[in-house]
């Protein structure tokens, strides 16, 4: 018997808008309208501004550790392919998509300001809070999509994660579940080439991240992750497939222009030349070039937008900063639908040691005579 090919696969890479702002008109047909491109450019610019301000807030001690999104704003395009009822199950580098899907931007700031109210997603928005354990949340997207199928709801779950996240076991389980359950899920791997200091070359021996999806029966695509047209087109096709029970994995090739977080210093491990080259592929630059080449954008418009963005970002920061202090009781009250009595006692006394909480413990010890309650020297 001759040896036969048991399986063969190819992966397409798609770029529609190149670094110079040149557009592949054929591939771009029926994708983004001029208005949408202008809107995306303005939105991405606002996100960049907000990102820079968040960085400064961290440096001046008004924000905790913050992961900059700089360079990955084109991911916003996914939100144009999503319908209002669709879910977003994110990590932390797709802020631009979340805002467009309706998340108030101050919530992300609040989160990184150490405030759980930044996770209190407003009713009606199908977005889960940013996920901290890398690679774990994609399973929730598989479940969310599966639930939509069970209930017969017209919903798709988008989930976002990094190149590093594909090394976690949960990533593989999520792909497998989505595949086996025919769940309407779109996996979006933002391959920004780095996982903290770990380069893509040390993360996997696979040639692409997209090919990992093939193993689980997903449709896979690789696109230029700084290209709003390519991302939109891939995401829109993925929605159509998802609704037919075919999940997709899209690998977006992008680059983390900043440090991993404000606690990181990428100069320790990253070649400055690589960063310089990546700056030339910035999604903002190419989108603006494209708009200008089409006479859809002028220097005046740019100037006016910068002023608008400044004001808008100031507003966002004010909303995050001027919020009243959280109540300590929230720590307890948020735990369960109904608080157990012992937990309520901890809340009410802010104490875990028993003395001072049960007066009979002390009166029995000393007989019936009244005595002064124990005084805290620390409070004296």
């Amino acid at each position: 018997m001759p040896i036969k090919v048991a399986y063969q696969a190819t992966i397409e890479y798609m770029q529609i808008l190149d670094e110079q702002g040149g557009l592949d008109a054929k591939l771009a047909r029926d994708t983004l309208t001029d208005d949408q491109v202008v809107m995306l450019y303005e939105h991405m610019s606002m996100c960049r501004r907000l990102d820079e301000i968040a960085f400064k807030l961290q440096r001046s001690g008004r924000l905790g550790t913050y992961p900059q999104n700089m360079g990955q704003e084109a991911i916003a395009s996914v939100a144009l392919a999503a319908r209002p009822q669709d879910w977003m199950v994110p990590c932390y580098r797709e802020n631009a998509a979340l805002y467009l899907h309706g998340l108030p931007p101050e919530m992300i700031l609040l989160h990184w300001m150490g405030d759980e109210r930044g996770n209190q997603i407003p009713e009606g928005l199908n977005i889960t809070p940013m996920s901290i354990p890398i690679g774990s949340h994609m399973l929730h997207a598989a479940g969310i999509g599966w639930a939509a199928r069970i209930r017969g709801d017209d919903q798709v779950a988008f989930t976002f994660f990094g190149d590093g996240a594909t090394s976690e076991g949960d990533f593989h389980e999520a792909c497998n579940f989505a595949g086996v359950m025919h769940a309407p899920v779109v996996f979006i791997c933002q391959n920004n080439q780095w996982a903290i200091s770990t380069p893509r070359s040390k993360q996997t021996r696979s040639e692409t991240f997209a090919q990992k999806g093939i193993a689980y029966g997903l449709k896979v695509r690789q696109v230029d992750g700084n290209d709003i047209f390519a991302i939109f087109r891939a995401a829109r096709e993925a929605v159509a497939d998802a609704l037919k029970g075919q999940p997709t994995m899209i690998e977006t090739l992008t680059y983390r222009l900043g440090d991993h977080t404000t606690a990181d210093d990428a100069r320790r491990y990253r070649d400055p030349a690589e960063l310089e080259a990546a700056r030339k592929r910035d999604p903002l630059i190419r989108t603006r070039k494209y708009l200008e080449s089409k006479d859809l954008w002028s220097a005046d418009q740019e100037e006016a937008m910068i002023e608008r963005n400044k004001a808008q970002v100031d507003d966002i920061v004010a909303r995050a900063t001027n919020i009243e202090k959280p109540k300590t009781t929230d720590i307890f009250d948020a735990m369960f639908a109904t608080i157990p009595p012992e937990l309520a006692r901890q809340r009410d006394t802010m104490q875990t040691n028993s003395l001072g909480q049960f007066p009979q413990q002390e009166t029995l010890r000393r007989g019936a005579t009244a005595h002064s309650p124990t005084q805290s020297p620390a409070h004296a």
Partner: protein, 324 residues
């Protein structure tokens, strides 16, 4: 002798053990060129090479499971889990394999592995970067659990851990990674696993603690009246727990306060309180007091100091216990 921080002392212990024993291999996320996110392994890859200080893919189950295999086949593996909150994916490997191999193979297969994990709160870190899960692992048969509170002990304990024939979970309290310095000998020395340290001798109340809480307890003692004599015990090893030192102390003082960052319910305070009740019943003058985190999550950093049992809460409990 050099005046070192906890981070530097751990780095020194790793350097010396790697020099002394070629079979010691470090692995984990970002531990190589970047020196770890806390710089604990700074300079080690440059010194010992990429084959002995290994940047792994982002996979805690992978790191732990592979470290077990390495240890089973002649490599003294020292995996790092970047933060205690990410022990989750490694739990199955650690608890269902590392801990059990010796026993289930009746000694035929052993796992001489030391798992390094930064632990605890108080550094304004994001979610899942500030927890204290030591009780979970102390509750796991087959694991040794260590948490130093000083540079000197950190070096000596880590060397003991690496040389130990069984898996050791070595928790590093990140709040005091760089909080103070201490004289740490260049020369080789060990601090035995399973032996607590009496930080300060006293006669009225015994305070039992470990890790970064040791510093909070010292601060609490400073705020108490001078005629209140407190004996402070730093456990250093959480499992196997040094019962003798605790029993001896409480038998003398008759009063005991346990302080830890982790939640109250089923925390180690409960275990210690139980031991004291069983072994010192007739000496006890007051109910054992537990000063701990609440039965909630460690809040995001705006409220983390409301959660942590800081020095004033510890002082209050000591005073109440002494006055009882």
């Amino acid at each position: 002798m050099a005046n070192l921080t906890l981070v530097q002392a751990i780095n020194l212990a790793l350097t010396q053990e790697m020099e002394a024993d070629e079979s010691v291999v470090l692995l984990g996320e970002d531990v190589g060129l970047n020196g770890g996110v806390f710089r604990v392994t700074e300079g080690l890859q440059q010194r010992f090479g990429e084959h002995r200080v290994v940047d792994t893919p982002l996979a805690e189950s992978g790191i732990m499971g592979a470290a077990i295999g390495l240890a089973m086949n002649g490599i003294k593996s020292v995996p790092e889990i970047q933060f205690e909150g990410f022990l989750g994916p490694a739990y199955d490997q650690l608890v269902n394999h590392a801990a059990r191999y010796r026993s289930r193979s009746r000694g035929a297969i052993t796992v001489p592995m030391t798992v390094r994990v930064p632990v605890g709160g108080g550094i304004h870190a994001p979610e899942l970067h500030s927890d204290s899960p030591e009780a979970i692992y102390a509750h796991t048969p087959g694991l040794k659990v260590v948490m130093p509170s000083s540079p000197y002990d950190a070096k000596g304990l880590l060397i003991s851990a690496i040389r130990d024939p069984d898996p050791v979970l070595f928790f590093e309290p990140k709040r005091i990674y760089r909080a103070f310095r201490e004289e740490v000998p260049e020369d080789e020395y060990t601090v035995p696993i399973g032996k607590a340290k009496i930080v300060e001798e006293g006669t009225d109340v015994t305070v039992v603690t470990w890790g970064a809480m040791t510093i909070q307890c010292i601060n609490a003692m400073d705020s108490l009246p001078e005629d209140l004599s407190v004996e402070l015990i730093d456990l250093r090893t959480i499992y196997p727990i040094d019962v003798e030192t605790i029993v001896e102390s409480v038998s003398k003082t008759g009063r005991c306060v346990v302080a830890h960052e982790a939640p109250l319910t089923a925390g180690l305070g409960a275990e210690i309180s139980s031991l004291v009740q069983e072994r010192c019943f007739l000496h006890l003058e007051a109910p054992v007091q537990r000063v701990t985190g609440f039965d909630t999550f460690m809040p995001y950093y705006k409220m983390e100091l409301d959660y942590l049992p800081e020095a004033p809460r510890v002082a209050e409990a000591i005073a109440a216990c002494a006055a009882y």
